[in-house]
Symmetry: C2
DNA sequence: TATTGTTATACTCTATAACTATA
DNA sequence: TATAGTTATAGAGTATAACAATA
C-alpha cells in the first residue's frame, strides 16, 4: 500500500463538500455570499475582531477582506471601529442588525447541518471527535513548523 | 448539551481548511487556480467526463464550468470531444500535456498532504476512515432524500 | 418538451503589489 | 523599519437566466 493516507484525505474532502453542497443553497437564500457568511459567522458572539484576526480565521487575504467588509458595511451588518490602543488596528463588529442576521442565518444553517447526525449515539460523536481531533493537532503542528521556518 | 454535533462539524471544517491552507500556495505555484486544479484532478485517470459529470463531482455550476474549461483548453491541458452517442454531451478529456500536468502537480500535491499523517499507525487510519465513512454515508443518504423530493 | 452545454450580465472574490498611517 | 489596512488592477469564479442544438 503506497499511499495509505489517500483514502482518509478523500473521505475528509467528500464529507466537507457534502456539507457544503447541502448548505450552499441555504446560504445563498440569505443573500449573503459564502465569504460574507463566513465573516458574519466568525464575528458572531464575539466583541469584534481586527482585520488581521478575521483574515487568519477565514483564510481571506487582507486586500480581499477590505472589499468583503465594505459590502457588509453597505448592508449595515458590520461596522468598523478604530482601536484606541493602536490606531493601526481596525476592529470589525456586528451591528444590531448584524447580530440579528447572525442569529437567524446561522441558526437555520446549523439546524440544517445537524440532519446527517440524526441517529448518532454519544459514542459515535466521541469517536468522530477523537479521530478528527488527532488530525487537527497534526495539522496545527505542521502549520507551526511552517510559520517557524518562514518567520526569520 | 443542546447541539452535540457542532463540535464535530467545527473539527471537520478545521481539518479541511488546514489542508486547504497548507496546499493553497502549492497549487498556486503550478499556475492553476483552485477550480482549474479541481478539474484536472477530477479528470486524471479517467477517459474523460461530460460537463454534467464534472459539475456534479466538483460542485461547479455549468455556466461557470464553461469558462473554467475554456481557460484549460487555452492552456492546452484539456480538449472537448462531442459524444457520438448523444450529441448534446460534450466530453472533457485531458490532453497529453494535461496528463503530464496531472501527474506532476497532483503527485507533488499529495506528497505535500501526506505530512500530517506521518506517524499514523494502521489503527489510526482505520479509525479515521471508519468515522468519516459513517458520516459520508449519512450525508449521501441525506442527499438522496433531497434529490428524490426535487425530482418529481 | 426536456436536457446539455453556451452565452450574456452583473457582481464578487482573488492574487499581487504599491501605498498611507501609524507605531 | 515594521505593521495594519487601503487602493488599484487584472483576472477568475459566481449566480442567474435566456438561448441553441439535440433528443
Amino acid at each position: 500500500m503506497k499511499e495509505r493516507y489517500l483514502r482518509s484525505l478523500r473521505l475528509l474532502s467528500e464529507c466537507y463538500h457534502g456539507f457544503e453542497h447541502m448548505s450552499a443553497p441555504d446560504i445563498r437564500k440569505t443573500g449573503l455570499t459564502k465569504a460574507q457568511f463566513d465573516i458574519i459567522a466568525t464575528l458572531g458572539n464575539t466583541p469584534g475582531m481586527t482585520f488581521k484576526g478575521l483574515g487568519q480565521k477565514t483564510l481571506i487575504t487582507k486586500g480581499t477582506l477590505t472589499g468583503v467588509v465594505d459590502r457588509l458595511e453597505t448592508k449595515q451588518l458590520v461596522r468598523r471601529v478604530t482601536s484606541l490602543e493602536d490606531r493601526r488596528n481596525v476592529i470589525v463588529q456586528l451591528t444590531a442588525t448584524g447580530e440579528r442576521t447572525f442569529e437567524r442565518v446561522f441558526d437555520s444553517h446549523i439546524q440544517f447541518c445537524k440532519q446527517p447526525f440524526s441517529g448518532y449515539a454519544e459514542a459515535d460523536f466521541v469517536a468522530l471527535e477523537e479521530t478528527l481531533g488527532i488530525l487537527k493537532n497534526r495539522l496545527e503542528a505542521m502549520a507551526a513548523i511552517k510559520t517557524e521556518k518562514k518567520g526569520k
